[in-house]
């Protein structure tokens, strides 16, 4: 609601008689365009298929990718933040209980309709684990609409294809310290030396050991998706 007192009454500047004709201004404008017309060396157009423009890799918003963490697993935790933030409603996620002990959820399905997408980058902003990113790849083509709906495997493949030119940032906010760094410092406070505490502690340690084993069993080494 704009209040009346907030409205500024703006007077147009008073013009001189010559200016009132607008002809000088018009001619001035036309001079400018004429100059451009014959400044042949200034051509800015990139002859696309032959020439390609250099992009700012960090900022360009092209095809999405789904990042892998250091173990090669999909980094996404299926929190739906991207699909919630998406103004075009082009992200469709189905969450499932993750096979890895260090996180709760992972995406069973992760589809992005690249035709619906407006490449605003809100998904990237919304992602709490920096799992979804937009790559500098803009040459996405397809013959059918279905082809333009990228699934999890395709998005991971985009990551594999672009990880050289745009390496993955380390996530800075995450509830899961192990998902980002190879060996995040894990300090548990052992409050006292009672047997019970020690047991609990050992049990938790055991958990993570089991987790490592499970990871190995899932083939979660680098290169493998681990979610298959």
């Amino acid at each position: 609601m704009i209040r009346d007192e907030d409205i500024l009454s703006i007077e147009a500047p008073t013009l001189s008689a010559g200016e009132r004709l607008f002809l000088p201004a018009i001619l001035g404008g036309m001079k400018t365009t004429l100059r451009h017309m014959f400044a042949l060396k200034q051509r800015r157009t990139v002859q696309y298929p032959e020439e390609k423009r250099k992009l700012r890799v960090e900022n360009y918003r092209g095809v999405h990718r789904l990042n892998r963490d250091h173990d090669g697993r999909v980094a996404c935790v299926a929190c739906y933040m991207c699909s919630t933030a998406c103004p075009a409603h082009c992200i469709h996620i189905e969450a499932g209980e993750s096979p890895w002990p260090d996180r709760e959820k992972y995406p069973v399905k992760f589809d992005i309709d690249e035709l619906r997408c407006i490449y605003c980058g809100m998904c990237e902003e919304a992602c709490p684990v920096d799992a979804i990113e937009l790559t500098p790849d803009y040459s996405l083509v397809g013959r059918t609409r279905d082809e333009m709906i990228l699934g999890k495997e395709e998005l991971l493949a985009v990551f594999d294809a672009t990880r050289q030119i745009k390496p993955r940032k380390d996530p800075h906010i995450t509830g899961y310290p192990n998902s980002g760094r190879p060996e995040a410092a894990r300090v548990d406070v052992v409050l006292s030396g009672t047997a019970e505490e020690a047991q609990n502690h050992a049990a938790r340690e055991g958990d993570s050991a089991a987790g490592r084993a499970a990871r190995a069993a899932h083939g979660g080494g680098p290169g493998g998706d681990g979610s298959a």
Partner: protein
């Protein structure tokens, strides 16, 4: 048959067919030309893929128009929907009939065809029709082009089309008046309605009308822009507001006809300006381009010169289009009714006065009259306050009322 072709009627037929064909081709290349100019203005290359320098682009475009599905939406008035582009095309296409392309032609100089004639035996007018109301014919034809736009807009049964049509209609009606008046200035100066005579007169005296009536020439050029619905007067198809204006619903060949119509009328109006003000086919100090040179080669040279002048004018059209922003509708109307009509009226009255005193051919007198009219316009314009338009006027009002009583306004 051989003789028929060198009679005026036969020659006119041939010329009509020739000019019509050339104009259609020229229209296609106008589009190419326009795209190139647009590109250059914006530091781009423009079409450069189809053929060398993209020269085949118009053909590709034309083929595209032809091969697209000719779709008629279900909600339109079918008869008028089909009729409208036809009207547009025909009306814009028949204006060139009275344009003089090259003065007189001595039929005997035509190789082979005129070999049986004596030199000077039969002089042909390089013009399709010579009418004694020539300019009136042109005006009449131009006034009919409104129908194409209006019917196209209305029959589309789409509010954007309809708005576009209404705007085009009002615009054309408004700009026809200054256009007619400036033409009358020339008519008064030249004392004839026949275009070929106007052109010949300028060639004979070597004084183009633009040197006598530069202001009238400018006004005619501006109104010609408006009549052809060209930027900055392309309100009828303002994409930002009206999607595509009156031809929103059109596609394929029918849209192509509208397109052709627009460019054809550009050519016609440019030619009109050239004939009325720029000496038609005349260029100084070139022997081939005088009244007396009537050989076929001279005529061809004249026609080339004429075409060149038209091409330059069309370049200006396009240059203007890619330089200037579009008028708002009220500005457009204000320009017509409050600037162009009074100025052209003044010029017309002054020209009549000059005619009364026999000074109508005098360059200084004419220039003085033009200067006076321009000065008068400037004086009138600078007298008033800057018009406050649109929103600002509302603002003024709001704040004024604020002072009185805000409560009253709110209740």
């Amino acid at each position: 048959m051989k003789d028929f072709l060198v009679t005026q009627f036969g020659f006119s037929l041939v010329l009509a067919a020739l000019v019509f064909a050339v104009i259609q081709g020229a229209v296609a290349y106008c589009i190419y030309y326009e795209r190139k100019i647009a590109a250059w203005t914006q530091d781009r290359y423009g079409p450069n893929r189809a053929g060398p320098l993209g020269l085949l682009q118009p053909i590709a475009d034309g083929l595209k128009f032809v091969f697209k599905e000719d779709y008629i939406p279900g909600h339109v008035d079918k008869v008028l929907f089909v009729l409208a582009p036809g009207i547009m095309f025909v009306v814009c296409g028949i204006g060139f009939l009275i344009l003089p392309w090259g003065g007189q032609l001595d039929a005997s100089t035509i190789p082979w065809l005129g070999s049986h004639l004596q030199p000077g035996e039969r002089m042909l007018s390089v013009q399709v029709v010579s009418l004694n109301v020539g300019i009136l014919y042109l005006l009449a034809v131009m006034s009919m082009s409104v129908y194409g736009v209006v019917l196209g807009g209305w029959s589309s049964n789409n509010k954007y089309s309809f708005y576009g049509a209404m705007r085009a209609c009002a615009q054309m009606l408004a700009y026809e008046i200054p256009m007619g008046l400036t033409i009358l200035v020339v008519v008064l100066t030249m004392g004839t309605l026949r275009l070929e005579e106007i052109a010949a007169e300028q060639a004979a005296s070597g004084v183009w009308n633009v040197f006598r009536h530069p202001l009238a020439a400018l006004i005619l050029f501006i109104t010609a822009l408006a009549e052809a619905n060209r930027a900055p007067f392309d309100l009828a198809e303002a994409e930002q507001e009206l999607v595509g204006g009156y031809h929103t619903e059109y596609g394929a060949l029918k849209f192509g006809l509208f397109f052709l119509g627009e460019y054809a009328s550009m050519i016609t109006t440019s030619a009109l300006v050239v004939v009325l003000f720029l000496g038609g086919w005349h260029v100084w100090f070139v022997p081939a381009l005088t009244m007396e040179a009537t050989s076929i080669w001279a005529v061809l040279a004249k026609m080339t010169v004429m075409a060149g002048k038209v091409a330059i004018l069309i370049f200006v059209y396009m240059w203007v289009r890619w330089s200037l922003p579009r008028f708002r509708f009220d500005q457009l109307m204000r320009l017509a009714w409050k600037s162009l009509v009074p100025m052209s009226l003044g010029l017309f009255a002054a020209a009549a006065g000059l005619l009364y005193f026999g000074l109508h051919r005098s360059i200084p007198a004419c220039l003085a009259v033009n200067a006076v009219v321009l000065a008068g316009a400037v004086a009138v314009a600078s007298r008033g306050r800057t018009p406050i338009t649109g929103r600002q006027a509302n603002l003024r009002r709001r704040t004024d009322m604020n002072d009185v009583s805000l409560a009253e306004v709110r209740t």
